[in-house]
């Protein structure tokens, strides 16, 4: 299904769309308060982008340094070329320890790899322990937002789900009581688990350690209680030195939820006495992206979701409309690199308002990349016939100033003179949700000519 078809479905429920829009925007508002509260905000963004760019320029060296130090700390380091290899490694580690009950904290990488269905097909019980993740897992879906996985669901829907699957009283929809019920349910899973899997927000080459950030403490409960900890980390999550962490930790939570820092920023260097730590370094398309200079900066991403929260299209179409594991602008520039044909409509699901680029804490040039993907997809013949035809006509008219001027006259005359029904027939998609604009009394060009004298506009 194309993004616009999926978005149309989401928009069918107007009350939900409005609510989703406001809920997501409130993250953006909180982010602004935090960002404006720090005078050095722009210097931090600049530094973060610079550190990432430097890391990417020496990624191989830093990965080897990380591996060396992690191994010395007592971790076992694995490398996975793609999702299938990553999933096989996880299963093998679990099997070697006879583990069947896995608790998992949030990790977009494992969503990307389709780890849960793979493990479940091989007899592993997987429990997502972040509350939002658990909710979407129980609902049989993936996350619809990078940091707020269940943001598309209303409290009554969560209440129904918990009533059916966790046995909470029918009609219970109070978030505090539902969270308390989930706490008891998840505590049982923590106490009975054989293994814990986490993502890694950062890996530090200098120390060989990983950093995991949560608000709930669920990653730490798994790490500290299970006899086995597996950490899945995209190779782009690396930073060179411990001091660099300060820059990213200061930016991450502020950009994400508008908190000054998340509740828990955990630094895992070594396994607990008597337990094991495995770190899997995953490529899965990242080196291919590294080899594309014009899209390379997308590897700076720290998965904060600021670009989703600010995006007018995301807010009104929901995470599932993107048909890719990462929704919103960052998903729109990463997905075509994974499969250009399957995701060919995504770079067009944007008004190019540039807001995503302005809020990105690591300065990924998202609007530029969206624009560039449109060019690349056009060159590869992956743009629909209708879109191509419209663009060709538009381009032809715009390249001819006299014709363009007459087209403007005609449009203004039509907007003023023709009945609404006739116009609506020409612009059906546009008029479905809004009115046609008022025709201006004169064109900018005419106004300019009048002020500056004839010939000035030439």
């Amino acid at each position: 299904m194309s993004h616009s078809d999926a978005a149309r479905r989401f928009l069918a429920d107007q009350a939900r769309t409005t609510w989703h829009d406001q809920a997501v925007w409130s993250f953006r508002a909180k982010r602004d308060r935090q960002a404006y509260g720090i005078p050095e905000w722009e210097a931090l963004r600049e530094a973060a982008a610079g550190i990432k760019a430097h890391t990417m320029s020496r990624l191989g060296e830093y990965l080897e340094e990380f591996e060396r130090n992690a191994t010395q700390n007592g971790a076992v380091v694995h490398w996975a070329r793609d999702a299938a290899e990553h999933n096989r490694i996880v299963l093998e580690i679990l099997r070697n320890r006879g583990a069947t009950r896995l608790v998992k904290s949030k990790s977009m990488l494992t969503e990307e790899c389709g780890l849960n269905p793979f493990l479940e097909a091989h007899g592993i019980t997987v429990t997502d322990t972040d509350l939002g993740e658990r909710i979407v897992q129980l609902s049989g879906m993936g996350p619809s937002h990078i940091v707020a996985p269940a943001i598309h669901l209303r409290r009554e829907e969560v209440g129904d789900l918990f009533h059916r699957l966790l046995g909470t009283p029918e009609g219970l929809s109070d978030p505090t009581q539902l969270t308390a019920a989930a706490r008891l349910h998840l505590r049982e899973r923590f106490l009975a688990c054989d293994a814990a899997l986490t993502g890694a927000n950062f890996g530090v080459a200098e120390t060989g350690g990983i950093v995991v950030v949560t608000n709930e403490g669920n990653a730490d409960l798994g790490i500290a209680l299970a006899p086995l900890h597996i950490a899945s980390m995209g190779i782009e999550k690396l930073i060179p030195r411990l001091d660099h962490l300060a820059v990213f930790v200061r930016l991450l939570a502020r950009s994400t939820t508008g908190q000054p820092i998340s509740a828990y920023t955990s630094h895992v260097q070594a396994p607990r006495l008597g337990s094991a730590l495995h770190i899997i370094l995953v490529d899965n398309g990242r080196t291919a992206q590294l080899a594309r200079p014009e899209f390379r900066k997308s590897l700076h991403c720290i998965r904060c979701a600021a670009c989703l929260n600010t995006c007018p299209v995301f807010r009104r179409s929901g995470g599932y409309s993107y048909g890719y594991v990462l929704p919103g602008p960052i998903g729109q520039v990463l997905a075509p690199g994974v499969d250009a044909r399957a995701h060919r409509d995504l770079p067009f699901a944007s008004s190019l308002c540039l807001s995503c680029g302005d809020v990105c804490p690591v300065k990924v040039d998202l609007p530029d990349q969206l624009y560039r993907w449109r060019q690349r997809l056009g060159e590869q013949g992956l743009v629909s016939g209708r879109k191509r035809a419209v663009m060709r006509v538009m381009g032809w008219v715009m390249a001819r100033p006299a014709l363009y001027e007459r087209a403007g006259v005609l449009t203004r005359w039509a907007l003023r003179g023709l009945p609404r029904v006739v116009l609506a027939a020409f612009a059906r998609t546009w008029t479905a949700h809004r009115e046609l604009p008022e025709a201006p009394t004169e064109a900018f060009r005419d106004w300019y000519r009048k002020r500056r004298g004839a010939g000035a506009a030439r």
């Binding site: 709930e216 403490g217 409960l221 955990s266 260097q269 008597g274």
Partner: protein, 199 residues
């Protein structure tokens, strides 16, 4: 070719041009703050993130201060790893069972370092009876010396020990979630409260 070699070769093939590390002098603009201001800012931020602060004149007042904690009053499930605060009712070590850990009602642990900008407190595994203590406890208290509060994360990371401990965590406030309709709920999977005793 091993996965490792294949990935490293692909990185080399990508031929990313060199890029120098940026100058990090501009990223910290809070130098020169007086210690009382740091403490004030730490306390204000801690309240914002859902924690509570109790300022004490010195370590002698600690005993009286923890006595007001509900679990201490009820004499239930207390674990303290603060040397001058011998109030543990549970005896736990690195080999504690999960059932023993789950019985912790109130944990009281030392903090090594506080950060004024975000109320984060660095907790070192060496100060814990077990790595799980700050997360399985129903309620948490941290004892933090006021002189160990720094302005921001840059100062904090500079002060962390090298090499790092096997496990260390910045804790800012109690466990929380807003995953159901963005309604903030304190006490998600971890502690339902955090009080910081500043000595």
């Amino acid at each position: 070719m091993s996965a490792r070699d294949a990935i490293l070769a692909a990185i080399r093939r990508a031929a990313v041009p060199p890029a120098e590390l940026p100058d990090l002098r501009e990223v910290s603009q809070v130098a020169g703050e007086a210690p009382p201001d740091l403490v004030r800012r730490f306390i204000a931020t801690l309240k914002e993130v859902g924690g509570g602060a109790v300022e004490l004149a010195g370590p002698d007042e600690l005993f009286g201060a923890v006595a007001v904690l509900p679990a201490v009053r009820a004499a239930r499930g207390i674990v303290s790893s603060v040397p001058e605060l011998d109030v543990s009712l549970l005896t736990l070590g690195p080999d504690a069972t999960r059932a023993q850990l789950d019985a912790i009602e109130q944990a009281i642990i030392p903090g090594r370092l506080g950060v004024a900008e975000n109320a984060a407190i660095w907790v070192d595994e060496a100060d814990l009876p077990h790595r799980a203590v700050p997360f399985v406890a129903q309620h948490m208290a941290i004892v933090l010396p006021k002189r160990d509060i720094v302005a921001d994360m840059h100062a904090a990371y500079r002060r962390l020990p090298r090499p790092l401990p096997g496990y260390g965590v910045f804790i800012s406030g109690p466990s929380k979630t807003a995953d159901i309709e963005q309604a903030l709920v304190i006490g998600a999977q971890g502690p339902k409260s955090l009080v910081v005793f500043l000595v």
